[in-house]
């Protein structure tokens, strides 16, 4: 391998590979019964990379105008070799990415991984989560089909209910008073340029912070006293990560082949909204909650606006959790925050299930919580948990 050595030392002279080599040699990941949750951040990252690659491919054929968008997606789905595969993978991976982001968020929340010194990691992560939803919202409109058109009309209308800035927000989002080709251009710009740029910066920060602080050990494991043994990052953790990613890629391809994403009918502003209109699943719980708010107003502000502001306030509180949770730092536990996290999870699940008039959201959440938990227990039982 003299040639390989030559290349490595050539690179080392120029960019300095020392930090990488040290990382490979020394970095470890704590092993305990909750280690399984460590993989969900990387899985979200992988699914995001899938979105970038498939998104770039789709950009080569997609036409972002009201006249051409629907037809160009139709062209991709029917005429371009493997176009159906990349388009369906893009749609499915978007949904799986938000799902893994939810799992990642709640696992960090329950395992208190946001506590010092990882407050900034939580905050950058929370903003990334909001960005993922913005990606979903802007991307949803791009095929310019009936469902997307009216979902966007409803979503931007809800933004308009916020007092004071509501009207400006709606016109800013829509590029005018109504949803038009101008809205499509605007959403396309958000989806392929602005959001990726902001995400790249925040993701870089987030990953740098994760690398700097390493993996957080849950308080219950820390309390045991003895240091949790660690597995080498290279090759053990990396290979397990890669294994998960390859399985995820297979799942995506299978989903694309067995449950291809529909094209729908081309958007027509003068046709009535379709009967089965509904928002994307990760907005459903908010959408359903708003349906329960009675009409009317209090103190000059519409009830609906109060509810929307309340959601915003809860988002802000969630963002600030590392600074609000004093108990975990001073006493080593914060049962109030754990309870609040449970309430949030149950609320989201129940509202989503009601919104769909179905049980599957409950089963999905139980699976997403239960399967990794059981797998983690089984994997660690040999080492005394």
């Amino acid at each position: 391998m003299a040639r390989g050595k030559g290349l490595l030392s050539w690179l080392d002279d120029r960019i300095g590979l020392q930090p990488l080599q040290e990382l490979a040699a020394k970095k470890t990941v704590p092993e305990h019964r909750h280690t399984i949750w460590y993989y969900f951040g990387g899985m979200t990252l992988f699914l995001f990379l899938v979105q970038v690659v498939t998104g770039i491919l789709l950009m080569l054929y997609y036409r972002p105008s009201a006249e051409g968008a629907y037809e160009s997606v139709q062209f991709i789905m029917t005429k371009v070799p493997f176009g159906w595969l990349f388009r369906s993978i893009h749609s499915w991976s978007a949904n799986l990415m938000v799902a893994t982001a939810f799992v990642h968020l709640f696992s960090v929340l329950f395992l208190k991984a946001y506590r010092a010194p990882r407050e900034l990691t939580w905050m950058t992560g929370f903003v990334l989560f909001v960005l993922a939803m913005a990606f979903g919202f802007s991307g949803y409109l791009l095929p310019w089909n009936k469902l997307a058109y009216f979902a966007t009309a409803v979503g931007t209308d809800i933004a308009g209910a916020v007092p004071v800035i509501g009207d400006f927000t709606v016109r800013f989002l829509r590029g005018g008073d109504h949803i038009t080709g101008g809205t499509l251009s605007r959403f396309y710009g958000w989806h392929v340029a602005i959001l990726p740029a902001v995400t790249t910066v925040l993701l870089g920060l987030h990953l740098m912070l994760v690398q700097r602080h390493g993996m957080s050990v849950p308080p219950s494991i820390e309390r045991r006293g003895k240091a949790a043994p660690g597995m080498p990052f290279v090759p053990h953790f990396v290979l397990r990560d890669l294994f998960g990613w390859i399985v995820a890629l297979g799942v995506l391809a299978a989903l694309a082949a067995l449950f291809p994403w529909e094209l729908g009918e081309k958007a027509d502003p003068f046709a009535p909204a379709p009967a089965d209109i509904k928002p994307e699943w990760f907005f459903m719980f908010m959408f359903q909650t708003l349906k329960y708010i009675p009409g009317g107003s209090a103190l000059g502000i519409e009830n609906e606006a109060v509810a929307i502001l309340a959601f915003g306030a809860m988002g802000l509180i969630a963002f600030l959790i590392p600074l609000l949770d004093r108990g975990i730092v001073s006493k080593g536990k914060s049962p109030l925050f754990t309870a609040a996290a449970v309430v949030a999870l149950v609320f989201i699940t129940v509202m989503t299930a009601i919104g769909y008039h179905a049980w599957w959201p409950v089963f999905v959440v139980l699976a997403l919580v239960g399967v990794p938990w059981l797998a983690g227990l089984m994997m660690s039982s040999g080492r005394g948990g």
């Binding site: 491919l57 080569l60 005429k79 371009v80 070799p81 493997f82 176009g83 595969l85 990349f86 390859i246």
Partner: protein, 151 residues
């Protein structure tokens, strides 16, 4: 370590097999990803209906300029009034490098501005770089309409 033999390379046979198997699997997986991407990137041939006849323009549109560029399928055509009630039509895509040509009334010839190519009124390439003549079309006048047909 009694139950293995060292192969001549010094590596345990099982490890060599597993390494080879893993490497082969990863190569196959990579190919399974790269192949669809490569095929996707090359645009599909769109089966275009071949255009044979179009309504080029109205007679009244040529009274001032005497000539007009019109779409013939997805490529340009040119129709020229050569005398009262007499018209000629050609493909307007220069045979040199595909620029759109124009009619030069002073010399009664068709001229391509890009590289100074010249065609006469039979479409023959008479001067400059164009390697082939312009395809000539048939013209039929019906009332005020000028129809151009591929011969």
């Amino acid at each position: 370590m009694a139950n293995h033999e060292s192969a001549p390379s010094g590596e345990v046979p099982r490890r060599r097999f597993l390494n080879g198997f893993l490497g082969g699997t990863l190569t196959a997986l990579t190919a399974a990803v790269v192949y669809p991407v490569a095929r996707f990137l090359s645009p599909p041939k769109i089966a275009e209906a071949v255009t044979n006849s179009v309504l080029a323009c109205k007679m009244s549109e040529l009274t001032e300029t005497k000539w007009k560029i019109f779409p013939f399928g997805s490529e340009p055509g040119i129709v020229i009034e050569t005398g009262p009630g007499e018209y000629k039509a050609f493909a307007a895509m220069c045979t040199h490098l595909s620029c759109t040509v124009q009619y030069e009334s002073e010399s009664d010839r068709i001229w391509c501005a890009c590289h100074n190519g010249w065609y006469d009124m039979s479409g023959r390439n008479v001067s400059g770089p164009p390697p082939h003549p312009l395809e000539q079309y048939e013209v039929n006048v019906v009332g005020d309409d000028i129809f151009v047909t591929r011969g």
